[in-house]
């Protein structure tokens, strides 16, 4: 089965055919981000200017942000139909909430004294925001904006997996057609796109004004992806069908099992990742192994990380079949990439003095690693792992949508069978899970005194 994925289909005709879904994915991200900025930035300014109602708006933004992007995508597919318009709309909503929340946080953290001075001259709140909040936070806004755009392109790939168009849809298509060689091509393309994005956002951070170039790109994308027939009445009846959300008795009885399964996918996936990430992290730490070994390990980790959980999920469902095991391995593979890199950095960042003291005794490399570097790196390693667990709780609630078990699978099944009231119920449950995971990890962090966010 695995052999079916090799060799990848690198024929020119297929590569040429891929430009369309590739452009679709990028344009979904660009168009979605443009709408997201147009909505999120004013909202953030509204919150930052602390107008009456700002607190409520902030709460809504934080709440909205907790709905996973894939869940939003499936809702949008139901409302506007399969295709890039749905994906773009989902990204627009998700990133409007994200940008609104993150920018609002930046505004709220801005020095209040110049703001107060601007208020004292009799400027309106809008002017205060424009002459105070914006210039004072501009650098951070740009770098957060770049980071969001990067995330949006990744997300644009996965929303395709539930009907949102682009590379994700193409990948689902090839897998359904047993065209595994082409699936491999798509995954390679994805890895290339993600690393190209890394360099792009590095460039943007150095030349913030280049962000403005994204505006025409976004406009073109909006024009290209605009839903051809905006069937308002259809949309309204569909949305109407989602309310009130309801689950029939058998579904209710199955719910505890689904929730446990979701928690299991998150927990086991994180565990699998952590176990694999320890040796890989050590092999990627430049202060522990020869440079070529570290480089090679890093490349491997980079590839694992570049492929989102949902895409790993699509591949694994074909390899090990529908069910939670596919979810565990999918989360595990992506998380190894993330954790391995973070563990390696934790090893590289340990204080030199204790390590040198041990080296001075003539201890061998392995002994140094075990007795000096690992104990010193254990605190950041624990923090990263906990963050990953939180992240994986979100991820576990959505990988099911492509058949990898848990609550997501129930949601997807309800959508496929047009049980929109049940689908909405699962959406709300997913939302509650994510809010709970957020609250739990906030609580743990505060209890352990880990104030700093390491994402």
């Amino acid at each position: 089965m695995l052999a079916g994925f090799f060799p990848p289909d690198l024929s020119l005709s297929y590569l040429a055919a891929l430009t369309v879904p590739l452009m679709q994915t990028i344009s979904m991200a660009a168009g979605g981000m443009l709408i997201a900025c147009l909505i999120g930035l004013p909202l953030a300014m509204f919150v930052g200017a602390q107008v009456r109602g700002a607190r409520l708006a902030y709460g809504l933004l934080s709440g909205l942000r907790a709905i996973p992007d894939l869940t939003l995508a499936i809702l949008c597919v139901v409302v506007v139909g399969i295709g890039p318009a749905a994906g773009m709309l989902a990204l627009a909503i998700f990133y409007a909430a994200m940008i609104g929340k993150v920018f609002a946080d930046l505004f709220l953290a801005a020095d209040w004294r110049p703001i107060e001075a601007l208020r004292s001259v009799g400027a309106t709140r809008l002017m205060v925001a424009f002459y105070g909040l914006l210039p004072m936070t501009l650098t951070n806004l740009v770098s957060m904006g770049c980071y969001s755009f990067e995330c949006a392109v990744r997300a644009a790939v996965i929303v395709g997996a539930v009907g949102g168009g682009g590379l994700g849809a193409e990948l689902v298509g090839t897998i359904n057609a047993f065209d595994y060689g082409r699936a491999t091509t798509l995954i390679i393309l994805l890895v290339i796109v993600v690393s190209a994005l890394d360099s792009l956002s590095w460039l943007l951070r150095r030349h913030p004004r280049a962000v403005l170039l994204l505006i025409p790109l976004g406009l073109a994308a909006l024009w290209a992806n605009w839903p051809e027939t905006l069937a308002l009445r259809h949309a309204a009846t569909t949305i109407g069908g989602m309310f009130p959300p309801a689950l029939p008795l058998p579904a209710l009885q199955a719910l505890p099992r689904l929730l446990l399964e979701t928690a299991f996918i998150a927990g086991a996936g994180t565990l699998l990742a952590a176990v694999l990430a320890v040796p890989l992290g050590l092999l990627a730490a430049r202060n522990l192994v020869p440079a070529p070994v570290a480089m090679a390990t890093r490349m491997l980790l980079e590839v694992l990380r570049a492929v989102p959980e949902v895409i790993w999920g699509l591949v694994l469902v074909t390899l090990v079949g529908v069910g939670p095991i596919a979810g565990v391995v999918a989360l595990g593979l992506h998380s190894v990439g993330v954790l391995g890199k973070l563990y390696a950095e934790a090893c590289e960042n340990v204080r030199r003095a204790p390590v040198q003291a041990l080296e001075a005794t003539g201890a061998r490399r392995l002994a140094v690693a075990c007795y000096a570097i690992l104990p010193l790196a254990s605190a950041p390693v624990a923090i990263h792992t906990l963050f990953r667990l939180e992240w994986n709780l979100r991820a576990a609630s959505v990988v099911g949508m492509i058949g990898a078990g848990g609550i997501g699978q129930a949601l997807y099944n309800a959508q496929q069978l047009f049980f929109y009231d049940q689908m909405m119920a699962y959406v709300l449950i997913t939302w509650a899970i994510v809010l709970l995971a957020d609250a739990l990890s906030d609580w743990t962090r505060r209890r352990l005194g880990w104030a700093t966010v390491i994402a």
Binding site: A117, L118, R119, V121, G122, A123, M127
Partner: protein
């Protein structure tokens, strides 16, 4: 001085939870006076000034200007009142990433329509006014520098230029020299007095040292624990009152009231006035 421009602070109280920051403060300040408000840290000086500009709302009491109650103003009227009661702050509070000229033009925001403000379209006349204000403070050459590259003394003068752009009736200066070295402190206090004398603008200035207040102000108001405990000419301030203002049994007292950013250097300037 014209009798117009009377600022009346009438039994104004401000509480923060349990704490009463300003308690039943009553003052009547005719237009054109230069008033120094003194008192130890926490006495309520800043809160009092901020209530005049309405950055802080009084809990009870009333502030009136020219007979008009300004504690009830809302929306546009509140904004134009703020424009006519310009503030200057201890930390200067310029917008760090904007250039000096824009920081000064900001003082005009109340008078220009929103669309023009958001497009940063200032007229040639407004720019000329801003340059003029900077020139009056001797720093026109800094107009295109970023505000956060300036020294403290320069920043405070930019802040004064911003206040001038507001064409205010009152200037509220909250410890304007507390972060400055003696030379810059003198420059700033001289500028405030020049504005007071030449333009007839009322100046209310929080100062925590007594001799600066004595050197520059026509009238001194002493605050302690939120209350006004002295209000009169500098000469009327005797040692007992000073002790009441700054607290008793305090060995550091002498030092606090005399140590200042402006010592004897201020006297010749005073003589000129």
């Amino acid at each position: 001085m014209a009798p117009a421009g009377m600022l009346e602070i009438d039994k104004v109280t401000r509480r923060f939870g349990e704490l009463t920051a300003v308690s039943e403060a009553t003052l009547a300040i005719p237009g054109g006076q230069m008033v120094g408000i003194i008192g130890r840290s926490g006495a309520g000086k800043s809160t009092l000034l901020r209530m005049v500009n309405r950055l802080i709302e009084p809990t009870t009491g009333r502030v009136a200007f020219d007979g008009r109650d300004i504690t009830q103003l809302r929306g546009r009227r509140l904004h134009s009142w703020r424009a006519s009661a310009a503030m200057i702050f201890q930390q200067f509070n310029l917008v760090p990433r904007l250039d000096v000229l824009t920081n000064v033009l900001v003082g005009r925001l109340n008078r220009i329509p929103t669309t023009r403000a958001l497009l940063k379209l200032f007229t040639a006349r407004e720019r000329a006014l801003a340059i003029g204000a900077l020139d009056r403070l001797g720093i026109a050459d800094l107009a295109l520098k970023r505000a956060d590259t300036l020294s403290g003394g320069q920043q405070q003068r930019v802040a004064i230029a911003r206040a001038l752009m507001q064409e205010p009736r009152i200037l509220l200066a909250d410890e304007p020299i507390a972060s400055l070295d003696p030379m810059n402190a003198k420059l700033v206090m001289d500028a405030l007095r020049d504005i007071n004398r030449r333009d007839g603008i009322t100046v209310l200035c929080n100062l925590h040292t007594l001799d600066t207040a004595r050197a520059y102000c026509d009238r001194i108001v002493g605050m302690a624990q939120g209350r006004i405990v002295f209000d009169g000419a500098p000469e009327a301030l005797d040692e007992a009152t000073v002790r009441a203002i700054y607290g008793t049994a305090d060995r550091a007292l002498d030092e606090r009231i005399t140590s200042t950013s402006i010592g004897a250097a201020a006297l010749p300037a005073f003589a000129r006035a």
